[in-house]
């Protein structure tokens, strides 16, 4: 541990590993310090019941930026795209499957609205195209509006046009949709409530707001970057298992000579004369290095690890005002078997099944969180990863993962996320699933509940926000995490931010870490 290190990377999630791999390849001596017992960060699976494995964050497999993979020579894990990425449970035994193949989806939609069925293929094609433009933005540092003004953005827009990523009409549509509420976006095009609710649920993911909030149009596109054409949810799954992406990054980092130390929590970033000198560990030991790249969220980094005397009070104030607002909970179920009669088709459970067929129900669920309460009728979506990866459960048995919104971190009253409140929410979720899938409860062998408070304790994410900073429009691109810090370097010499709290943000596997490492290399690594 007392060896000479050029860079310390804090956190061995996708971003930390990508950063380390990038820096290691440049010949730097890199050590990654991870507080938990294994690499993987938010993607890591745990054995939540004997023989049953799942990711407590219910993270999907995200999007691995192709430019990063090319740059690092990373073998891109093979992905399987579910035939039916998203299904709406309407009533027991009655579902609306939104197949990836848009004619098949249109066929299912036609049962509810012929007009919507006709609109659907063009709608998904447009989402795909617009998300593709975000993908361009997400593989380079955010445009630097603060210093070069709008010229930079204009040149970027020209790049996009030049790349034929978007035509002029598409660009206009992009600029219109980004600040829109997803509800307005959907009301514009569709009449079928269940269809709208299904699409909208993807636009409020990990947000404390509902589908009527401005900027949810952007969130919808954000989580569709890298999605297969026709899919309105998630980016597919790694064929070889839930942790394949981080395992690939881990292997690459080690190949590039990176040292990775788990069970090593950083308690402080050491600073002398406005420059980083290393870190202090929870164990009391110190590790020296002239550079530290933190993939902890911006608040955890600046407010938790750095002595405030080294930082501008205005900057700290801005960091304190970052909206984190974790609002999602996860319940993991170990199942003896999947209910057959009245149950959901396995093809649906291989993807995501949403139990909220009404847009207003989604909004009402969000209303509760707005006032610091847990939703009376939370939005729940479930998936059975054991269908995709049988190895996560004992033979013949299954894992069902339920994402639950809204379960805000900051509660108005009571004792916070105490045992009673946790159990009450888990019971409510179980009941909702059992209503949609009769016989579900009888098959549950075990369940594990994770609230934002648990996420905060387990992963160190501020306010239990898996996003490292809510994806509101004022906290994305050149404003992520805050204006002036969007380019990974910080006012402290040698300190870099590279987690999901930086551009491009959550769900982009390694994107922030990779770009931060490149910035570090660009700044030079001389003494």
């Amino acid at each position: 541990m007392n060896d000479r290190h050029d860079v310390i990377v804090i956190g061995a999630g996708a971003n930390g590993l990508a950063a380390a791999a990038t820096l290691g390849r440049a010949g730097l001596a890199v050590i990654v310090l991870e507080q938990s017992g294994a690499v993987g960060g938010l993607q890591r699976t745990v054995e939540f019941a004997p023989g049953f494995h799942a990711t407590p964050t219910a993270a999907d497999d995200g999007w691995l930026p192709p430019a990063m993979a090319r740059d690092l020579g990373l073998g891109v894990p093979v992905r399987t795209i579910p035939d039916i990425p998203l299904t709406v449970a309407l009533a027991p035994g009655d579902v609306l499957p939104l197949a990836r193949e848009s004619r098949a989806a249109a066929e299912a939609i036609r049962r509810h609205s012929a007009r919507d069925a006709a609109t659907w293929p063009a709608f998904t094609a447009q989402l795909h195209k617009l998300a593709g433009f975000l993908a361009v933005l997400y593989q380079r540092p955010a445009p630097d509006i603060a210093t070069t003004g709008l010229r930079d953005l204009a040149s970027l827009l020209r790049v996009a046009l030049g790349l034929r990523a978007l035509g002029r009409a598409d660009m206009a549509e992009f600029l219109r949709i980004v600040p829109m509420s997803v509800r307005e976006l959907l009301d514009d095009r569709f009449e079928c409530e269940a269809l709208k609710a299904a699409v909208a649920a993807g636009a409020v993911r990990d947000l404390r707001q509902g589908p009527r909030s401005g900027g949810t149009g952007f969130v919808l596109l954000h989580y569709l970057v890298g999605a297969a054409p026709g899919s309105v949810r998630d980016r597919g799954y790694c064929r070889d298992g839930p942790e394949t992406c981080v395992a690939a990054l881990d292997a690459l980092a080690r190949r590039n000579g990176v040292t990775i130390r788990t069970d090593t929590a950083v308690s402080r970033i050491l600073v002398r004369d406005d420059a980083v000198t290393g870190v202090a560990l929870a164990s009391g030991a110190e590790v020296s290095a002239p550079r530290v790249l933190s993939t902890a969220d911006p608040a955890a980094t600046f407010l938790g690890l750095v002595d405030p005397v080294w930082l501008d009070p205005e900057l700290l104030h801005a960091v304190r005002n970052i909206k984190f607002r974790g609002a999602a909970a996860v319940v993991l179920y170990a199942l003896d078997s999947l209910p057959q009669r009245g149950g959901l088709p396995a093809a649906s459970l291989a993807g995501v099944v949403t139990l909220t067929p009404q847009l207003d129900a989604l909004e009402r669920a969000a209303d509760a969180a707005k006032y610091g309460n847990v939703s009376e009728h939370p939005h729940v979506e479930i998936s059975a990863p054991s269908i995709r990866w049988p190895a996560v459960a004992p033979p013949g048995k299954h894992v069902v993962v339920a994402r639950v919104q809204y379960a805000p971190h900051c509660l108005k009253d009571g004792n916070g996320w105490d045992g009673a409140r946790r159990e009450a929410l888990a019971d409510r979720v179980s009941h909702l699933i059992d209503t949609a899938v009769p016989g579900f409860l009888d098959r549950v062998l075990h369940r594990a509940m994770f609230t934002p408070a648990d996420f905060e304790a387990r992963y160190g994410v501020t306010e239990g926000a898996l996003t490292h900073g809510e994806l509101t429009l004022d906290q994305v691109l050149f404003m992520r995490p805050i204006p002036g810090l969007a380019h990974y370097a910080t006012p402290l010499t040698g300190l870099y931010l590279g987690g999901a709290g930086t551009h491009p943000g959550p769900g982009v596997m390694g994107g922030g870490g990779w770009l931060a490492a490149r910035r570090l290399l660009q700044d030079g690594t001389g003494p």
Binding site: V271, D274, L303, D307, P308, V309, W310, D312, P313, E314, L315, L316, H317, R320, P491
Partner: protein
């Protein structure tokens, strides 16, 4: 809503004395510009006897706790870790760009307790700077009254009413004592460049304190004085005034309105090698690079002033009170700066101004021109860069 100015705890005594109703606004308070229609007598008291000035509108913050030193050391440019109990530091404080936000005095009342005075409200900045520290910040502006007793006879007067060992109280030190039984903190400080004290008292004790001093001071010629007199004294003493000679970085609209301590003649207050403080990096850079601007004194040449008035058939006319504004400063017809305060010094018998000039023209003895309006016409008087303070009295420190 009607704007109602607050009154200070001394108002019941000062109000009947303001014969010409020459009130002014200071930090939201109503205070006397002068008690007489003209400040001559009040100024004379500052320099020849003793003047009593109500300075209660100053903002006052009580900062206490285990991290008080850590907070203040990160806040101000001076080294607070070396401030002894009972010591007072005059200091500016800066934003991260090294531009001055405000200036004031920092008094170490005991090991863990300080009082910071400022011209502007600073609670937000203090609170922001204290994030993550174990310290309490209390705005005690309302219930702490302050009186400045300034002038060569100030010590003699105070000695008749206070048991404090004033002879041992050095310049920029303080002690806790009483005045006729009223608990006061006495600091050997002031804004006049003269021998003097500032007395800090609980608002309840304000009137008895005033009465005691006025009574005891009568044989010594104690004179209540207003801001006009103070302004003359502080220009002679070369002391900057916020919103007159510089603007807080909080309020600057353009970069040109920002000033660093080096640009305000306060380079001596910057300890760039002490522990971390807000603006340190920028100030280190500025020190290495050299300042762009300097804050200097200008002595206006009497003969050239006389000539300008003679051309209009007039004898030289002098400002009866200090002016605040902006007057261009030129060299060879090109503007190199601007003066922000000016006055006729009754003691030095010279027309003085405080000015910002580019660093290249800050050398003592540099000849410049100051733009003045002479009988409705813009004219230029000769002036010479003069080191500050114009007036450096030995008794100030004695």
């Amino acid at each position: 809503m009607t704007l109602v100015l607050k009154t200070t705890p001394f108002h019941p005594r000062t109000a009947p004395l303001v014969r010409a109703q020459t009130w002014r606004r200071w930090a939201g308070y109503q205070v006397a510009s002068a008690y007489d229609p003209h400040p001559d007598r009040e100024y004379a008291a500052i320099r020849n006897a003793a003047a009593l000035l109500d300075v209660s509108p100053l903002r006052k913050y009580r900062i206490a706790g285990p991290d008080a030193v850590r907070l203040l050391d990160r806040l101000v440019t001076r080294d607070v870790t070396r401030c002894a109990v009972g010591q007072v530091l005059y200091t500016p404080w800066c934003d991260a760009r090294g531009k001055v936000l405000d200036d004031g005095t920092l008094s170490r009342l005991d090991e863990r307790t300080f009082r910071l005075t400022s011209a502007e409200p600073n609670l937000r900045w203090l609170t922001m700077s204290a994030a993550g520290m174990d310290v309490t910040i209390e705005d005690v502006s309302e219930h702490t009254a302050a009186l400045a007793l300034q002038g060569p006879l100030a010590r003699a007067i105070l000695a008749t009413v206070s048991p404090a060992d004033l002879g041992a109280l050095r310049y920029f030190r303080l002690l806790h004592s009483t005045v006729r039984g009223i608990p006061v903190t006495i600091s050997r400080t002031g804004y006049t460049g003269d021998l003097g004290y500032e007395l800090w008292v609980d608002a309840d004790g304000a009137l008895p304190l005033w009465d005691a001093l006025v009574e005891a001071g009568a044989p010594y010629g104690i004179t209540p004085a207003g801001i006009w007199a103070l302004d003359l004294a502080r220009i002679e003493a070369g002391l900057v005034m916020i919103d007159v000679d510089y603007f807080s970085a909080h309020h600057a609209l353009i970069p040109d309105q920002l000033s660093s301590p080096f640009e305000l003649g306060l380079g001596w207050t910057v300890s760039p090698d002490k522990g971390p403080f807000t603006g340190r990096r920028a100030l280190r850079d500025e020190r290495a690079r050299g300042r762009m601007w300097a804050f200097v004194g200008l002595g206006i040449d009497w003969d050239s002033l006389e000539r300008l008035y003679r051309q209009r058939g007039l004898p030289p006319q002098l400002p009866p009170i200090a002016w605040r504004g902006s007057a261009p400063v030129l060299v060879n017809g090109r503007q190199v700066g601007y003066a922000t305060s000016g006055c006729w010094s009754p003691l030095l018998k010279r027309y003085l101004a405080l000015a910002h000039v580019t660093a290249a023209h800050a050398e003592r003895g540099t000849g410049v021109e100051l733009e003045l309006t002479v009988e409705h016409r813009r004219q230029r008087a000769d002036a010479v860069v003069t080191p500050l303070p114009f007036l450096d009295l030995e008794r100030k420190r004695a």
